[in-house]
């Protein structure tokens, strides 16, 4: 893998344009990607006049205002939505990692009758979106008396997240040198002990799982809307959606709500982005 800056020094013949061209385009695209986000965050700290008279200016002492945030905290259940999202995403991802690592360990370490079939059976869940079974899921959840509960969401997200997580983790388990497992067997370790020994070694997979499993759960609108639409169980995504729909003409409140919904996940992302990309790279190159 050519991870570190390989040829830049060699190509002294390359002219300036060829060297700077990529940077030029990349910087331009970064502006396209960030401009809308920055614009919203910036204007959320301004008064209504400031938002409309000078949308591109950062808040000044004259236009600075927190009125939008006051409306959001006064009217909506945002802390509660946020807590619901934390509970649902947190418990889902923990269980996905636990169940998923067990299954991935088994599929990657053992040859057994039906291993291919189990693998293919799980692969259906990677290709076929779980949403297509929504009607069946809703009937099942209602019959279990779980409508409008966070448990319903957790169970569905478990089913949704497991197939891809197992696939990613199995790739990482396969990269663990065989000698390690053999040595453990010779020392008389049980299969469960070996699972416990190997699992910390697949930690680099966490980043890829974060991108492909955790973020979709946090951001999902469909299942909260259908399985748990009550205000008490609304997640941050659903809560924001409903709040924005109601306050559509209150610009201060809308901008503040958008900012509040964005900032936590952006902070998380900036904190972990390096691991995420590294993890995707490590899983794919090989």
């Amino acid at each position: 893998m050519a991870a570190t800056n390989p040829t830049l020094h060699h190509s002294t013949r390359a002219n300036l344009l060829e060297r700077l061209g990529p940077h030029f385009v990349l910087i331009a695209y970064c502006l396209v990607a960030l401009f809308p986000i920055v614009l919203i965050i910036m204007n959320s700290f301004k008064s209504r006049d400031g938002i409309f008279s000078a949308p591109f200016a950062p808040p000044t002492s004259e236009t600075f205002s927190l009125i939008g945030y006051q409306t959001v905290f006064g009217r909506a259940n945002f802390p509660n939505y946020f807590l619901n999202s934390l509970i649902v995403t947190g418990i889902s991802i923990l269980l996905i990692l636990f169940f998923g690592s067990m299954a991935a360990f088994a599929l990657s370490q053992y040859r057994f009758r039906g291993d291919v079939i189990v693998g293919l059976f799980l692969a259906i869940g990677i290709m076929v979106p779980i949403r297509l079974g929504t009607i069946g899921i809703l009937r099942l959840i209602v019959s279990m008396n779980l409508a409008n509960t966070l448990v319903a969401l957790i169970l569905v997200y478990l089913a949704q997240g497991l197939p891809l997580t197992i696939f990613i983790l199995a790739q990482f388990y396969r990269q663990i040198p065989r000698e390690l497992t053999d040595a453990a067997h010779i020392d008389g370790a049980s299969e469960y002990r070996i699972y416990a020994l190997l699992t910390p070694l697949v930690r680099p997979a966490i980043g890829a799982i974060g991108i492909f499993t955790m973020i979709p759960i946090w951001n999902d609108l469909w299942f909260p809307l259908i399985l748990a639409p009550s205000d008490k169980t609304a997640t941050i995504t659903l809560g924001t959606q409903q709040f924005l729909g109601q306050f559509v003409s209150d610009w201060n409140a809308v901008l503040a709500a958008l900012t509040l919904a964005m900032v936590p996940i952006l902070l998380m992302y900036i904190l972990f982005s390096r691991q995420m990309v590294k993890s995707v790279t490590a899983g794919a190159v090989k």
Binding site: A2, A3, N5, P6, L8, H23, V25, L26, C30, A33, P36, I37, L39, I40, I51, P55, F99, M102, A103, A106, Q109, Y110, R111, F121, L122, I124, G125, M127, V128, P129, L132, G133, T134, I135, G136, I137, L140, L158, A159, L162, E191, Y192, Y195, W218, N219, I226, T237, T240, V254, A261, M262, I265, L266, Y269, I270, R274, V277, T281, A284, V285
Partner: protein, 309 residues
């Protein structure tokens, strides 16, 4: 891979224990509901809530009865347009950005992080952000276009029948471009530097080296990106619902399979919800997605040579 020996004769209880939790949850909450939903698409539900077997009648209705087929075809073709715009715009810009990133030197991790940022946000947030920016009320979009001399082009794109769907598609492209970029980037990193150096020594320009050497080598990734885009697009819902509501206006101009499914199942101001027909729409979506997957697996993956680098 060898079997861990000693115990392979006796029944492998440990394998069952390792697999059981994942397989059970996945089967109960995904596979069985999916089958139940498909089963329901073969039934009619009477007014007193009895289910009567109807064979493929619901599918025939959906495809031929004027009451259903016009709405279905509208949603299907809109979804095809949605997909084509993603394939052409999102994936080609994603490839361009990825190839520039590879040449991006030290700053590339910064570029990568920034360009990927919109992808981690929820579609609800993105939908509202663009709704505000394109709103003639705020005028931000218009000011930006004026600044680059294109002010005359501005129109309330999200509200006009001809432009609403392309605009929503481009918003989605803007959000998800990070995914093809990252996948192409990873694939391009996997190409050994010596290969490119050798081509350069032989006098190939950067352009030639890209299309004659790099691109053929990342064709497997092109296929993965295409099938991911296809499945994601024919399953999309959140953006249209957030910006245009379940009615997917104006006059269903932005209706795609996901919103059509939602409306059919739950009903709307204009019609009552119909679980059996909803299940039928879901069944059609499954067929469309399976068709895409089959094309990918048998027509693309079989023909594309993979090189072991």
């Amino acid at each position: 891979m060898q079997t861990p020996h000693a115990k392979s004769r006796s029944f492998p209880f440990h394998i069952v224990i390792f697999l059981a939790p994942a397989v059970i949850v996945y089967t109960v909450f995904m596979i069985i509901p999916l089958i139940d939903s498909l089963r329901l698409s073969l039934f009619t539900i009477t007014d007193d809530k009895r289910e009567i077997f109807a064979g493929l009648n619901n599918y025939v209705l959906l495809l031929t009865d004027p009451k259903w087929s016009a709405a279905f075809q509208n949603a299907f073709w809109n979804n095809v347009k949605f997909f084509i715009i993603h394939m052409v715009v999102q994936n080609s810009i994603g490839l361009l950005l990825a190839s520039l990133l590879v040449a991006g030197g030290r700053a590339r991790s910064v570029y990568r992080t920034l360009i990927f940022a919109p992808t981690v946000l929820s579609v609800v947030i993105i939908g509202f952000i663009w709704n505000l920016i394109l709103s003639p009320l705020w005028g931000v979009g218009e000011s930006v276009l004026k600044a680059v001399g294109l002010g005359a082009l501005f129109a309330p794109w999200l509200g006009l029948a001809w432009s609403a769907l392309p605009t929503l598609s481009l918003i989605s492209v803007w959000q998800f471009i990070g995914i093809p970029m990252l996948l192409f980037y990873v694939a391009l990193l996997g190409i050994p530097e010596e290969l490119i150096e050798a081509a350069r020594v032989d006098g190939a320009s950067g352009w030639t080296a890209f299309w004659r050497i790099k691109f053929p080598l990342i064709l497997p990734t092109v296929g993965i990106v295409a099938i991911l885009t296809f499945v994601g697009n024919f399953n999309a819902f959140d953006l249209i619902y957030t910006v245009k509501g379940a009615q997917a206006g104006p006059q269903f101009a932005t209706d795609i399979m996901g919103t059509f499914f939602y409306r059919t199942f739950f009903g709307s101001q204009l019609q009552l919800g119909n679980p059996a027909m909803g299940a039928t729409v879901a069944g059609m979506m499954l067929l469309i997605i399976l068709a895409g997957v089959i094309v990918y697996l048998f027509l693309w993956q079989r023909r594309v040579a993979t090189y072991d680098l």
